[in-house]
């Protein structure tokens, strides 16, 4: 596996994490848990955005694997 595809795999997991956090936040009854889930979802979202940029950068670096 190239670095690019590895990072893409990680990006997919992070998307999965974000979605799971979203469902949990929606299902949670306690405002405290709800807020915690939302807060963490925000952090994961930032990571996702960063990683998305990195994927674009890597695909330019490794055009032969595209």
């Amino acid at each position: 596996m190239t670095v690019g595809s590895q990072v893409k795999g990680c990006y997919a997991s992070i998307k999965n994490i974000e979605a799971s956090l979203q469902t949990l936040a929606n299902k949670a009854q306690e405002t405290e848990s709800q807020q915690a889930f939302k807060e963490v979802q925000q952090i994961v979202n930032e990571v996702k955005a960063d990683l998305g940029k990195q994927i674009i950068y890597l695909s330019r670096e490794e055009p032969q694997y595209k």
């Binding site: 670095v3 590895q6 990072v7 795999g9 990680c10 997991s13 992070i14 999965n16 994490i17 799971s20 956090l21 949990l24 299902k27 949670a28 009854q29 306690e30 405290e32 848990s33 915690a36 889930f37 807060e39 963490v40 952090i43 994961v44 930032e46 990571v47 960063d50 990683l51 990195q54 950068y57």
Partner: protein, 285 residues
């Protein structure tokens, strides 16, 4: 009227009267009865017992006697709700047996407790060494309540400084294969959610003996057919594992790349993921 008909009629009447009076006297548990409730209970029972089978006895006397024995304890109860002094008199006061770790011998004697009685009561509370107790008090209803010394109290999450997610009572959403719509609504969930969750577990609703959902919307079921194994909810542990894996991956990328800028980006995000894990861990376990 033959004697036996009279007995039947009297018994039925007195059962109704006794039942009503007992209900009116309050629903305090038998173990929490105070002196008055105890006495009136005994006497009411006695009056009924005598009058049911004695054809000579006048039933109106029975009812009158029961009424008196009902009114007095009832009045006592109502007054003691209002007045603390009267309550102390009618229901008794609690007596301190151990204070600051020292046994109050005078109080023991006053309540008629021997050393053995005290030790027995303490053992009842899982205390075998009297010096482990900071404070112990004999309640009016005869139970001894014990506050152990700080170091002998059970360890709690607060002592360890562990943060725990708040948890409300779980709701029973399926009973004997029937959906409880009210409890579902309490959790802001609906039938569609329940059907999806059951489909995930691969069971049909008729086969579920008991289904409970916690506040985070995870379903736990017990089936009629005990030979089928049901997986326990995996959503939260799985999410935590995925988060940990993503964090580890980012760290690995940071180590393996030569490019300084990418390294920094991976490191920063790996740190963020670690933060996220730390924040959410309590809620996912």
């Amino acid at each position: 009227m033959p004697g036996w008909v009279e007995v039947i009629l009297k018994s039925l009447t007195l059962i109704v009267v006794l039942f009503t009076l007992t209900k009116l006297l309050g629903t305090k548990q038998l173990s929490q009865m105070n002196v008055f409730e105890y006495i009136s209970g005994v006497v009411l029972g006695g009056v009924v017992a005598i009058h049911t089978f004695d054809p000579e006895a006048n039933i109106f006397y029975a009812i009158l006697a029961m009424f008196i024995w009902f009114v007095v304890p009832f009045g006592v109860e109502k007054i003691s709700l209002k007045s603390k002094a009267f309550r102390n008199f009618a229901e008794g006061k609690s007596t301190v047996f151990i204070q600051d770790g020292k046994i109050m011998e005078d109080n023991l004697k006053k309540e008629g407790y021997s050393t053995d009685d005290l030790l027995e009561k303490l053992r009842d509370k899982d205390v075998f060494l009297a010096s482990d107790v900071e404070f112990a008090v004999l309640e009016p209803n005869g139970t001894l309540n014990v506050l152990p010394k700080r170091e002998n109290r059970p360890l709690t999450a607060k002592d360890l400084g562990i943060k725990l997610a708040p948890q409300k009572e779980p709701q029973t959403v399926i009973m004997d294969g029937e959906v409880m719509y009210e409890s579902l609504a309490n959790l802001n969930l609906d039938l569609t959610w329940l059907e999806t969750e059951l489909e995930k577990l691969n069971v049909s609703i008729e086969n579920v003996f008991l289904g409970q959902a916690d506040t985070d919307g995870q379903l736990y079921v017990d089936l009629f057919d005990d030979s089928i194994a049901v997986p326990s909810p995996t959503e939260k542990p799985l999410l935590l594992a995925t988060m940990k894996k993503a964090q580890a991956d980012l760290e690995l990328f940071a180590l393996s790349t030569e490019n300084q800028q990418s390294k920094e980006l991976y490191q920063r995000n790996s740190k963020k993921m670690q933060d996220a894990i730390n924040k959410i861990e309590a809620y996912l376990s």
